[in-house]
């Protein structure tokens, strides 16, 4: 804790004066660019990765960047998402998985989390991920590293489906006010991969992000 406390004092002495003006403006309220959903993993720093300043990213972090479907438990994830879309009117949501994710490793090796009942319970919201990997990628059993990477990717897509069941999200997508993005961050190389729905693959992030959900329903002419 000593280090944290000293870090805060350093922040107060050396950095705060730089940001003072910005922070004073932010007293009026926040208008973040996006909701960024990622893992609690200490190796991931969304603000540093995206080079954003305070006020720019609304951030949700739980183990495994999991998004339980709406109605399932009405826990912190549902509230945070609803607040971001309804109150803050964010126009983009990114779900960002990452390499070497311990939660996804636990999904593949239940015995590794056998003494963690709350983790096991939460991973049931990634049961679709587990089943996809088990049933459709059995040939990867011999390559654990590739299997974990694929699990991280599939889990981003599964959680995006789950995100669509949230009423605020469904309604905002329906009128073209919200776009969803599925990313994987490989922290050891600094690479970010984005799911490209046209190619149905994760590809290196381009200058122009192509979101996962573009399709809007054509309203019947009335």
């Amino acid at each position: 804790m000593q280090q944290l406390v000293q870090g805060i004092h350093r922040f107060q002495r050396e950095q705060f004066s730089h940001d003072k003006k910005l922070f004073e403006t932010l007293v009026e309220g926040q208008h973040p660019l996006a909701l960024f959903i990622t893992c609690s993993d200490s190796r991931i720093d969304p603000s540093r990765l995206t080079q954003t300043k305070p006020g720019e990213l609304f951030i949700q972090r739980t183990a495994g960047n999991i998004v339980p479907p709406y109605g399932s438990i009405l826990g912190g994830e549902a509230a945070t998402i609803e607040y971001a879309v309804t109150a803050l009117k964010v126009r983009d949501i990114v779900i960002c998985g990452h390499s070497h994710c311990g939660a996804m490793a636990g999904l593949l090796s239940p015995e590794a989390v056998s003494n963690m009942p709350a983790v096991r319970a939460y991973l049931q919201h990634a049961e679709a991920t587990r089943r996809i990997v088990e049933e459709n990628y059995s040939h990867l059993l011999s390559d654990p590293a590739k299997r974990l990477t694929l699990t991280v990717e599939e889990n981003v897509l599964v959680q995006l489906e789950s995100l669509r069941t949230h009423p605020s999200v469904a309604a905002a997508i329906g009128r073209g006010d919200l776009k969803l993005h599925g990313w994987v961050y490989k922290f050891e190389t600094g690479d970010v991969f984005a799911f490209d729905p046209d190619q149905s693959q994760f590809l290196p992030l381009q200058d122009v992000a192509s979101p996962v959900s573009e399709q809007q329903r054509i309203l019947p002419p009335i």
Copy 2:
């Protein structure tokens, strides 16, 4: 989104090479100093505030830095806490509230979140906070700013109580392996206040943090 993507590319070009070595080490695993639980609010950046580097802070963020008691829903909060304590063996957990918190404002003004049913549901885990403020601080009704500040403070204490119901936390406290800390971050001044159990007050963070829970049960001599 354009800004986020460009930020990432800037990170990759300008910053990653600095951290490359660190990130490569982190492939082996994470050993964070602490679990830091705070709000999703875009104005809060725990890593910047504590001047920590990747790998140092395991971070949980949902609206209002709420910690549902164990067993209540077994959602992301329970899993993240259990993973931090059991798998990563963190020795400190900080719950950090913040000034101008929209979730706490919603707790005091339910009509402000009337069209956000998931937010309303989640705020039930801060019902003790709401009731403490309503029943014990009715004289603050005429001073909304002070009332919100007090609500943020009381909520940190309420969530700390809730945190103690998590089995991994209770067991680690019991053997002296874990300490809990209740903080409030006033982002517009850069100040951080810590709850001091001896004085039963929030005081400016000292160089030596005094945790909320020090008491350990004396084992009966056997």
Copy 3:
């Protein structure tokens, strides 16, 4: 009841002998063509509509043809879907809404179901439908009939999203073994409309049904 009992006796006297052979074969087990999810409404008869014989349609019926997302309650819908996909290996699932649906009318007029708490609770799984209609189709308020029709249509799409969160469904779609179909049955004209994902509209059912979900993820070459 008298009528039901007499109907059964008529069935036994007049019809059973026709089907006897079929029923005897079915003792060995069922191999239905599809899982058909529709409303409990007495005006809908899926077998009659599709002219199918015993053994051909696995049928799930609750008020409003609602499919709670996976993990939400693990009730009858989740079990029935999982059994159809995993045990019976159906290759198609149809969600079929219908005209003049009382459940959807209740969704639009909560006061109509104010003395039915279980109905109200269940309709929370159609909250996305309600919110889409309220937020995106406010111009329909003056045309209740069209508004109800649209609600029925949107609800079929919402429940399809929900259906995708079921692990057995997600995995089977992922490997191309399952297709989803969204239909609306207008019983007073006998018309059936199917959602066409290319045109993003409900269109009269064609001879060749075009399912909603065709997209399969391209597996990375390994």
Copy 4:
């Protein structure tokens, strides 16, 4: 799917004109004779079995004709039952089990549904059935066919008890407005057996159905 679509077109061409008048009347609303609760099994067709026309049977179908007790999950079953009794004022509810039921077979052989967690979870609402069979009929272990038949029968009685916990049902029975019936349909012979409360046995369905619940409380004279 081809077959379903062609069946619908055949229905539209050949049968709809017969029923056109009936369907047009039904636009005004439904007044079903009864709520019929049965299994999703494709071999069961309640309308065919009872020789009823559209508008006559309100039908609930999930795997195993299970009725979770009220309050347990407030899922589709509770809503459908409440709607039938409160909104449609049906005067009879039939729970109809059937021979060779896969859900009941799964109840007796949990290993058969070990890869179907949602089925396993739902079968907990038939835990009383399982326990009755295990504890009270151990002598049937050597006769699996008879044991399955008995399980189907006991399950109908267990689900009837569960049905009585639904407030709308309890209140309607209390004033003599609703009767409950427990049936088992042996599809391979066309036989239907009804539980006779006086004889405490399932007996071939008589011309006059004797319902399970006749007892009404005698109101104290006031």
Copy 5:
């Protein structure tokens, strides 16, 4: 508290020596005569009422002597009942309501418990009671005292139905090992009324209690 502590010291000084032998025998284990379920109300003392000694009554007490149906929440009531029937093999269960019950008064006057959300939530397990009284006894609105008495009586019957959904109870009744009893205790007169299933009324408790559930299913001869 002073009074409680002094009472304990008086018990230790004056009474314990009398019971010492009994208590020492009870170290070996308990073999209670019955499970007695009653309200937490301070005016009710089941041991005094029944003149039983330590070891004779297994007692469950929550507000309103409510028994949530099985599966509904798996809380303390389900566990206590299951333990009594399965581990202790009690042969009788009494649900005993009482006059002037505050929980039942709250059921009739929701505004009286409007600031008690947990009480309101728990009373949903007496929703059938509320609905029976509201729908079937509207003529009692002008006589609040009689209406409360009737509510207490009906609630005992409703909770008995709920009790039957517990698997251990259903199985033990099925084999004749367990009997259920519905009682109402009027503490101001000392009277106890028992529900008589034959007469469908509450009658003064007779020397020979006639239980509510006697019916056992006749096993088919095999």
Copy 6:
């Protein structure tokens, strides 16, 4: 049952006339001294132990004197506690464990309750107890009696933490209106031990009870 009925008749004949006056006063309402939470165990009689009369103790009893944290299930425990604190304004709550508790024995030996799923589920609210004992007292494995005693003690403390999460309790403690007490009753010796927060130990109950929670937050001067 015979014995219970005869006991009641003896109570009516021999004892009621003594208490008649008291009972008639109690018709007006109850004003209990405390809420007493203890196990359902038949060997425990709280009124006898504390030598209290009808009207003096509000009593909650479920297996293992467990108090699920607030929000967890909103079952009978939450309602009873809320009613005691909010409606009856009790100023003390005692949680009283006891020697030879079967529920705590089941916590230590899950195989002993393997055929009692509801008991197993309820014991999850004592998971913190189990984990404390397993992780922090492994040296007691060789002394089962001492280990059970310690489990009973730790469980009282765990349930006290859980009790603090209940909003009515947290608010009343915050303003000094409520004190919590943790006791263990050794029925075979008549001893009662109370947790002393200063010494962090269970000690023989003194004439002046020192409650567990005395600390009140110092309100900031305004």
